[in-house]
């Protein structure tokens, strides 16, 4: 059942933000995330003939991306003396403190929180795919990048009230899409 097909020319517009966000929450470095996403697109291009059309385009690209992220971790770990944990007890000004006191404070941000926020981010970006491209772009600029109304209006040649209508539609659609799992 080869129902899905690939359209590499649209990849950047459609999936760059999704893949980038997916990566940056895992590697915590903008430059590294950029490199990984770029590698993913290139690997995708070379692997086009292997695409069987069973998965959606995005799912397929994400599966490549995951491998690239793992590769990245392998690379940095081999540079790093095999993930050795070094703790110097006699650091300046901390003499006499117990090791237990140096463990990261997890009280305000637990691992589950981080995981949940990752999933939430992904869910939001998936929901945004349901909007048309212009709506999604404007919504992202306004909400995620925090660009002011005037700048966006000039760029897209729309009036502020056009902009607010677009924002309204986007927010309503998004709330509806997230309703089931997140409200």
């Amino acid at each position: 059942m080869a129902t899905n097909h690939l359209d590499p020319e649209k990849w950047v517009d459609r999936y760059a933000d999704y893949l980038f966000n997916y990566t940056i929450v895992r590697v915590n470095d903008r430059e590294v995330a950029n490199d990984i996403v770029s590698e993913t697109f290139l690997a995708g291009l070379t692997a086009i003939k292997n695409f069987k059309g069973e998965a959606s385009e995005r799912t397929w690209l994400v599966s490549i991306l995951k491998r690239k992220i793992v590769d990245h971790y392998r690379r940095i770990n081999s540079n790093k003396g095999k993930a050795e944990v070094k703790i110097e007890y006699q650091a300046e000004g901390t003499e006499g403190e117990w090791l237990e006191e140096r463990v990261a404070d997890l009280s305000d941000k637990t691992a589950e929180d981080t995981m949940e926020n990752r999933e939430l981010g992904i869910a939001i970006l998936e929901c945004l795919e349901q909007l048309n491209e212009k709506q999604a772009t404007i919504f992202k600029m306004k909400t995620i990048e925090g660009i002011d109304t005037e700048t966006i209006c000039n760029e897209f040649n729309i009036t502020p009230s056009n902009l607010w209508v677009i924002i309204h539609r986007a927010r309503t659609a998004l709330a509806e899409c997230l309703q089931k799992n997140w409200f």
């Binding site: 290139l42 291009l45 939001i124």
Partner: protein, 86 residues
């Protein structure tokens, strides 16, 4: 009578004000009008709650997007790569 017309607002206006308020772009009078409207209109009140919840979620997710420059770079690299192959 006059004060009433100043404070009056219909639902679509109220929705717009709700959104502006979420982006901190509603003025004082607008917020006041909205408050009055929400006091009287259950439907809009519900909308407002949902909308605020959405803002909380968006903030919690702390999303990242690529800049146009970064996207341009992706395109360029893909183009160069496909030239190399042919």
């Amino acid at each position: 009578m006059k004060s009433r017309s100043i404070l009056r607002m219909d639902c679509s206006e109220a929705a717009e004000m709700c959104n502006k308020a979420e982006y901190k772009e509603a003025g004082f009078l607008e917020k006041l009008k909205l408050k009055f409207h929400l006091f009287a209109c259950k439907k809009c009140k519900k909308y407002k709650q949902r909308n605020s919840r959405l803002s909380t979620l968006l903030q919690k997710a702390s999303l990242h997007t690529c800049t146009n420059q970064e996207k341009e770079n992706f395109r360029k690299q893909m183009e160069e790569n496909s030239k190399k192959d042919t």
